[in-house]
C-alpha cells in the first residue's frame, strides 16, 4: 500500500476553561489515502470541527502529529501547505466578502500565492468559474447577486484556485435546499474524479455521507468510536452509537424504513 496523503497520529486537543479541561478530540489516528473521500460524522460537540481546524493549521494539537505527504506538518504552515490544504465552509455567504466582486475574491487567491501574471490571473478566474459550472461573467457580480448554490460553487472554486490537493469540506451542503444539494454533491464528486482530489467531508447528515464517502469515521464526544468503509458502516454498524445515529435519520422510502428497523432491533 502506498503512503497515505494525510495521517493523523494520536491526535488530541484539550481546551482549558475556568480551571477545568475539555477534551475536544482524544487520541485520534486515521490514515487518509490520496483520492479518498473520508467522512467525519458526529453530533454537535463531537469534536469534528476541532479536528478539521487542526488539519488546516488553525488550531495546534495538544498532543499527536499530523503528517502530510510523508512529512510532519509544522505548527506554522508554509505557503505551500496552505495552498495544498483548503477549506470549504458551511455558509458561503459569510465565507465571501460582501463588498468584493466574485472575481476579486477569486483573484486574491492568485495574488496571495503569486500564481501567474496580471492578465493570466483574469483568464484563470474565468476558467475556474467554468470549472464549477458558472458562467465566466459572474466574476463581475457581488456575492449578494448569487443564489445559495451559486455561492457555494464560488467557495468551491476558491478552494480549488491554487491547485489544492486536499479539501476540508465542513458541512458544505447543510445550508442548501435538497435540489441544490444534489447538484453540489454531484459537482464535488466530478471534481474529485477530474482533479484527483482528496476530501475530508465533515457532516452530521448520514444520508449524504452514505452517498458520497468511501469511508466513514464516527465521532462521539471527542473520540472516534467507529471507522469503516461506507457500505459496511451502514449495513453492519458495530458501535451502538453508530446504530443510534443511523436509526435517528428521518427517511422517506420503505427500503430505508426496513433497514432502519433492522438496525434498531439489532441494537436492542
Amino acid at each position: 500500500m502506498t503512503a497515505p496523503l494525510l495521517a493523523l497520529q494520536n491526535l488530541s486537543k484539550t481546551f482549558r476553561s475556568h480551571g477545568h479541561a475539555v477534551h475536544a478530540v482524544q487520541d485520534v489516528s486515521i490514515d487518509v489515502a490520496a483520492g479518498e473521500c473520508l467522512a467525519i460524522v458526529g453530533e454537535s460537540g463531537s469534536g469534528k470541527s476541532t479536528l478539521a481546524n487542526m488539519v488546516l493549521g488553525i488550531l495546534a494539537p495538544s498532543a499527536g502529529e499530523i503528517r502530510y505527504d510523508g512529512q510532519a506538518l509544522p505548527a506554522r504552515r508554509t505557503l505551500a501547505h496552505r495552498r495544498a490544504l483548503q477549506l470549504v465552509q458551511q455558509n458561503p455567504l459569510s465565507a465571501l466578502n460582501p463588498k468584493r466582486s466574485i472575481g476579486a475574491s477569486l483573484r486574491l487567491a492568485f495574488d496571495v500565492h503569486r500564481i501567474g501574471d496580471r492578465a493570466g490571473r483574469t483568464a484563470r478566474v474565468g476558467a475556474l468559474l467554468e470549472d464549477v459550472g458558472l458562467p465566466a461573467d459572474f466574476a463581475q457580480r457581488p456575492p449578494a447577486a448569487l443564489s445559495g448554490g451559486q455561492r457555494q460553487r464560488v467557495a468551491i472554486a476558491r478552494a480549488l484556485a491554487c491547485d489544492s490537493r486536499l479539501l476540508v469540506l465542513d458541512e458544505p451542503t447543510s445550508a442548501l435546499d435538497v435540489l441544490v444539494q444534489s447538484r453540489i454533491l454531484r459537482l464535488l464528486a466530478d471534481l474529485r474524479a477530474e482533479h484527483g482530489l482528496t476530501y475530508l467531508f465533515i457532516s452530521h447528515d448520514l444520508a449524504v455521507v452514505r452517498n458520497i464517502a468511501d469511508r466513514v469515521a464516527v465521532f462521539e464526544k471527542g473520540r472516534m468510536v467507529e471507522l469503516a468503509p461506507t457500505d459496511r458502516l451502514f449495513t453492519a454498524p458495530e458501535h451502538p452509537y453508530t446504530r443510534r445515529l443511523i436509526s435517528a435519520v428521518p427517511v422517506i422510502t420503505e427500503d430505508e424504513i426496513t433497514m432502519r428497523d433492522q438496525l434498531a432491533h439489532g441494537a436492542a
Partner: protein
C-alpha cells in the same frame, strides 16, 4: 360536519417595493381539521413561512404587504375580527414554535418567569403558585426531569433539546386549538430531533391540538404528518394523505424533491434540475379519508 380549525382559501400575498410588486403567494388553499397534523413542505423561498405568519396575523401588520383571500379560524373570519380580538388569539387559541428554541426564549429572564407570562395571557391574574404548579405539570408532560430546576434556569443554562421541550410546553400551555411549528428541531442534532418529534407528536395527540407543521425536510414530514401539502414558488402543487403523497407522488416537482433526497440505503447522488417547466404543472390531489378507501 364541524368547521375545520383553520381554512385558507385563495390566499394571495404580494410585497410592494421600490422596483414594483413581488407576488409571493398565488392563491393558496389549505385546511386543517381538529386534532389533525398537517405539513406544508417546500424549499426556502417557497412561501411556507409567510403562510404561517399570515395565519398569526403578523404579515398583515407589515407595511407594503398586500394580503387577500379568506382566512377562517374555528368558523370565524379572521380578517373581519377587530385588531384587539385578533391579537387576543395569539398565544391562547393559536401558538407557534420556531426553529431555534434558544433564540426564541428571552436570555435575560428565567424559564419560570417567561412561563408565567405565557400562562397569564390565557388566565389573567394567575397567582405565582398556580403558575408554578401548572408549569411544573406541563414540563413533566414533555418529559423534563426536575421541572423545578428548569424553571429556575436561564435558557443558556439548558441544552437546545431541553429548550425545545420548554417551547413545546409553553406553546401548549393555554390549550390552543392550533399549533404552528416552523421547522421545529432543525437546529438540533438528529438523535435529539427524533426524540423531540416523537414527544411533540404524543403531546399534541393527548391535547387534541391541530398542527400546521412547516418543514423542508421530507423525512421529518413523513414521520409527523397525517396530511401533506407540497408548496413550490407560492403554489400548492400536490396534497393528500402523507402515505399517498410519499408512496405515489404525482407531481413532477414532488417527484424531483423525493429523488434528490439522499437515501441511507445508498444509490449515489442523482442530479436533479433546480428549475423545470414541469414544476409548474397543475396541482395533484390525492383523495382523503373515506373517498380514499372507496377510490382504492
Amino acid at each position: 360536519m364541524t368547521d375545520p380549525v383553520l381554512a385558507l382559501h385563495d390566499l394571495r400575498l404580494a410585497f410592494k417595493g421600490f422596483t414594483g410588486t413581488t407576488e409571493v403567494l398565488h392563491g393558496l388553499s389549505l385546511s386543517i381539521d381538529r386534532g389533525e397534523r398537517v405539513a406544508l413542505v417546500g424549499e426556502s423561498g417557497s412561501g411556507k413561512s409567510v403562510t404561517a405568519r399570515i395565519v398569526l396575523g403578523l404579515i398583515q401588520e407589515m407595511r407594503g404587504a398586500k394580503v387577500s383571500g379568506r382566512l377562517r379560524f374555528q368558523g370565524q373570519d379572521l380578517d373581519r375580527l377587530p385588531k384587539r380580538a385578533r391579537h387576543g388569539l395569539r398565544g391562547t387559541a393559536m401558538s407557534m414554535i420556531f426553529q431555534d428554541p434558544t433564540s426564541s426564549l428571552n436570555p435575560a429572564y428565567r424559564i419560570g418567569t417567561q412561563f408565567r407570562e405565557v400562562l397569564a395571557r390565557g388566565t389573567p391574574g394567575i397567582t405565582a403558585e398556580a403558575a408554578t404548579a401548572r408549569a411544573t405539570a406541563l414540563l413533566d408532560e414533555v418529559a423534563i426531569p426536575q421541572p423545578d430546576r428548569v424553571l429556575a434556569a436561564y435558557p443558556f443554562q439548558l441544552s437546545g433539546g431541553m429548550n425545545q421541550r420548554v417551547m413545546i410546553a409553553m406553546a401548549l400551555a393555554n390549550e390552543p386549538a392550533l399549533l404552528i411549528a416552523d421547522e421545529p428541531g432543525t437546529a438540533l442534532d438528529v438523535t435529539v430531533q427524533a426524540q423531540t418529534l416523537r414527544l411533540m407528536r404524543r403531546v399534541v395527540e393527548q391535547h387534541g391540538t391541530a398542527v400546521l407543521f412547516i418543514s423542508h425536510n421530507l423525512g421529518v414530514v413523513r414521520e409527523f404528518a397525517d396530511r401533506t401539502y407540497v408548496i413550490y414558488r407560492g403554489r400548492i402543487v400536490e396534497h393528500g394523505p402523507t402515505e399517498a403523497v410519499f408512496h405515489t407522488p404525482g407531481h413532477p416537482y414532488t417527484r424531483a424533491l423525493m429523488a434528490a433526497q439522499p437515501r441511507i440505503t445508498g444509490g449515489g447522488v442523482p442530479e436533479i434540475a433546480e428549475r423545470d417547466a414541469q414544476y409548474g404543472d397543475p396541482m395533484v390531489v390525492h383523495p382523503t379519508g373515506a373517498a380514499a378507501g372507496a377510490g382504492a
